[in-house]
């Protein structure tokens, strides 16, 4: 069920380094903090969207990606040493944003550069 709305594995999915995408928000996820990865992603997208996180309801993130599975893979208690310090990334599309999760904990939200800029 996860990833079917556009993961980085698919050949024609835009990568975050593509010039057509520009970063509009980022938040840091701390495995020892009290916000899980799902919450950090939704807060970051809400910031990009300019809304309260509780008002970002449709669709649920779960319909785009299994964030709990990414959290486990990147930050789970059985991930040690070099793997944890590496910079693997996962990208997926959510609403009109491209969300990039880095294994160093940074959650970056990109919007299409040709879309109207809020600033």
């Amino acid at each position: 069920m996860s990833g079917d709305s556009g993961g980085s594995a698919s050949g024609d999915a835009p990568g975050a380094m593509d010039a057509r995408w520009s970063q509009v928000a980022q938040r840091h996820y701390d495995p020892d903090g009290d916000a899980d990865l799902t919450t950090v992603i939704v807060f970051a997208v809400a910031e990009a969207e300019g809304v309260d996180p509780a008002d970002l309801t449709s669709p649920p993130l779960y319909e785009c990606v299994d964030a709990a599975a990414i959290e486990d893979a990147f930050f789970g208690s059985d991930v040690f040493g070099a793997s944890r310090r590496g910079t693997d990334t996962v990208e997926f599309r959510y609403i009109e944003y491209l969300v990039r999760i880095r294994s160093d904990g940074w959650v970056q939200v990109y919007a299409r550069a040709d879309a109207d800029s809020p600033e």
Partner: protein, 143 residues
């Protein structure tokens, strides 16, 4: 066809879907039980269903935040509640809905037991006393 069943010689041209249907329903129904036990928040949500069979998402978020922060429900801050609410809404609730353990009414934001809830609750009743008793006691406490 990718995984031919060695016990299935005579009917080797059966479609995979038919192979799946031939499994005992009892076996298939264990999957949602194992899935639903795999995350502390999922177990917590299941325990709360043991206490009361209908919850609002906001009340559940308050209860989970109280448990995770070790405070009473009255002392949960708006910020703590919102973080848990967002996580439940965007990940944990739809996951358990997928597994048939709970149902969620998006309009009223009410959560009730789903078709597989009884199996999960039965498993929790069996293991809760020794493994998860603090969490179960908190989830079932009337605050």
């Amino acid at each position: 066809m990718d995984n031919p069943d060695p016990n299935d010689g005579a009917a080797s041209d059966a479609l995979p879907a038919e192979d799946a249907l031939a499994l005992s329903p009892d076996v298939l129904e264990l999957d949602p039980v194992y899935e639903a036990l795999g995350h502390p928040r999922w177990r917590y949500l299941c325990y709360t269903l043991l206490e009361d069979d209908e919850w609002s998402l906001t009340d559940l978020a308050t209860k989970v935040a109280a448990w995770e922060h070790g405070v009473s429900a009255a002392d949960v801050t708006d910020c703590q509640r919102e973080r848990v609410y967002v996580s439940l809404y965007h990940a944990h609730v739809p996951k358990l809905v997928d597994e048939g353990v709970i149902t969620f009414d998006e309009t009223t934001e009410r959560i009730t037991a789903g078709e597989h809830a009884e199996q999960v609750l039965a498993a929790l009743r069996g293991m809760g006393a020794s493994l998860d008793s603090d969490q179960e006691a908190h989830a079932r406490a009337d605050e």
